[in-house]
């Protein structure tokens, strides 16, 4: 029995992979090195400019919400959220308040508290514009701040979970599952360092009392976590800190205002951030510059038809269709959609899913890591590898021979190898396995005849003396399987002794 129950809700912001910003045709691209080069009159909020909704952004948003099992609203609108901050040129952010385009979804994640998947409910997903970026004077002398508006107005999804997670592990798995889903859907690249996936965590504790009641500690919002591991570590830290703080002060939910704390990744601590002077009063009202959006059955059907297979479904299918273990299916799918599709092509071409899984997760993965490249830059395409493995499956090639061919194919720098290269290399290297035992027997006998001393040694009990003969046979008959040759040599030498 632990002393408390950890309660975590996550608010995730994810940037959408569109060409242009949410409300204008200005480019949407991460580019901090050339500040203020990606703006237009709408972005910098010049008077008289009007926003027009990006159709692609809305499609991607609905696609995501659908994948998160959300209800899609048939009527949705955008509102102005007013606050003053230099990264917000208009003095308000266009966001969604009371009629978000979707709500009531869920995401199932692995848990360290139960054996079953944990269903984390999603309160809402809404579509809003991002702000620009401020850079503060780090010297502490209160110098000027710098503002870059390249990011201002780029499309952002806000995904708000219910406080359904009860461990730092569950929170991590939620984020990993969400990141996998968003990248699978082609909705976002989810790069936390570049800020295309950002996460704030609301954390507090429920502490059971002897009389059966439960005390809740004040909710703390933790910010500035720029990796999923960081989120996990910050939550762990925060749980311990809040428990100690409660033991010391007895403060419970409602005694103090909601606190905001930042995560210091270097020191691995959270620290109090000065709260906004005024409790948030954003005076939302419908943005008169934008008209509402309606969602028809046809529109939903179209989005549904465009949806890719989700990661969890693909893992299950890889297990049933290719006979993979749950572990292997997970390893492959978690590498992302490109990797999963590469595997699937190799498995189909070779006709052996397990063989394909072994090669893809070991040989291919190792090469990708060593080269630091992606599959699209990898010299061996899926059909070529599939063809190579098919030769093993057909019994024409030993695993060792296949590795030789694989290594040779990797040498093909510059140009991609093709399936035809596989057979050419097998021939050139004489790796084709000889299954014609008649031919093998003839050569084995001829070699035995020429090596009386070895025959005597082997018959005298020194089986290892046969070694040099294996090489001689292999020289005569390239592609013979050394183990078969060895056994045949011993059998036939011993047979002569009788």
């Amino acid at each position: 029995m632990t002393a408390y129950k950890l309660v975590i809700g996550l608010e995730v912001h994810s940037q959408l992979l569109t060409q242009t910003k949410l409300f204008s045709g200005c480019i949407n691209r991460f580019n901090p090195d050339a500040p203020n080069t990606q703006t237009d009159p709408v972005t910098i909020g010049l008077p008289g400019t009007l926003p027009v909704m990006n159709r692609k952004a809305f499609h991607l948003a609905v696609r995501t919400a659908m994948a998160l099992n959300c209800e899609i609203a048939r009527h949705t609108k955008w509102d102005r959220k007013q606050y003053f901050y230099p990264d917000l040129p208009k003095g308000y952010q266009i966001s969604q308040y009371d009629l978000p385009f979707s709500n009531n979804g869920y995401l199932e994640v692995e848990s360290d508290l139960t054996d079953d998947l944990k269903r984390v409910r999603i309160n809402r997903v809404h579509l809003e514009e991002d702000a620009g970026k401020n850079m503060h004077d780090e010297s502490g002398r209160g110098g000027d701040s710098l503002v870059d508006l390249n990011r201002a107005g780029t499309p952002l999804l806000e995904i708000v979970s219910e406080p359904d997670m009860n461990s730092a592990f569950e929170a991590r798995r939620y984020l990993e599952e969400l990141r996998l889903l968003l990248t699978y859907l082609g909705v976002s690249d989810c790069n936390m360092q570049e800020g295309s996936l950002r996460c704030d965590a609301n954390v507090n504790l429920h502490i059971p009392q002897e009389d059966g009641s439960v005390i809740a500690t004040p909710i703390v919002e933790v910010k500035n976590m720029n990796s999923i591991r960081g989120v996990e570590a910050a939550i762990q830290y925060e749980a311990t800190r809040q428990y100690k703080h409660w033991q010391k002060t007895g403060e419970t939910l409602g005694d103090v205002d909601k606190q905001t704390r930042g995560w210091d990744a270097d020191k691995s601590v959270t620290f109090a951030q000065r709260g906004k002077e005024e409790a948030s009063d954003y005076r939302y009202f419908p943005d008169p510059d934008l008209v509402p959006v309606t969602v028809s059955d046809e529109f939903l059907a179209q989005i549904r038809a465009d949806l890719l297979e989700f990661p969890q479904a693909r893992k299950k299918r890889f297990q049933s269709e290719f006979g993979l273990s749950e572990y292997d299916a997970g390893v492959i799918v978690d590498q992302g959609v490109e990797f999963a599709e590469y595997f699937e092509q190799v498995a189909k071409t070779s006709g052996d899913g397990k063989q394909a899984a072994n090669w893809v997760t070991q040989d291919v993965q190792r090469e990708l890591n060593d080269r630091g490249c992606t599959l699209s830059e990898f010299p061996i395409d899926a059909e070529t590898l599939g063809t190579l493995l098919q030769r093993i499956v057909a019994g024409d090639l030993a695993n060792k021979g296949a590795r030789d061919v694989f290594a040779a194919l990797l040498e093909n720098e510059g140009e991609r190898s093709s399936p035809a290269d596989v057979d050419r290399l097998i021939d050139e290297k004489g790796l084709k396995l000889v299954t014609d035992t008649g031919a093998l027997e003839g050569i084995v006998d001829a070699i035995i005849d020429k090596n009386e001393k070895v025959v005597a040694d082997v018959q005298g009990g020194k089986q290892q003396a046969v070694g040099p003969l294996i090489g001689q046979v292999m020289k005569e008959l390239k592609g013979a399987d050394p183990k078969t040759v060895r056994q045949m040599l011993i059998d036939r030498i011993l047979a002569r002794g009788n």
């Binding site: 237009d40 909704m53 159709r55 209160g142 709260g275």
Partner: protein, 99 residues
């Protein structure tokens, strides 16, 4: 006539990023009360059974395609900035940036 306290005026002023001295606060209190009183006339309208209106004109689903349109050069973007270093908009130190 609505009751608007001086604290209400202070709060609205703060939200609007305005600073008033005490005399101005009192003056604004009267203005604000008058304005709100005027708008309050709307409360007399019977709205039972009327669907909420999100927009005064009866148009929905206005989209544009996700295609690039011309952008501003950095010089153009920064030309109205009160202060710039040639690359960024330069603004007074942001105080609530954490600490």
């Amino acid at each position: 006539m609505s009751k608007i306290s001086l604290d209400d005026v202070r709060k609205v002023a703060q939200l609007a990023n305005l600073t008033f001295n005490e005399d101005e606060l009192v003056e604004m209190q009267a203005h604000l009360a008058k304005t709100i009183g005027y708008v309050e006339i709307l409360n007399q309208v019977e709205t039972e059974g009327v669907a909420p209106m999100a927009h005064p004109i009866d148009v929905v689903d206005v989209f544009r395609d996700d295609v690039l349109t011309p952008m501003l050069s950095r010089e153009e973007a920064l030309q109205n900035a009160p202060k710039t270093d040639g690359q960024y908009f330069v603004v007074p130190a942001i105080l609530d940036a954490g600490e």
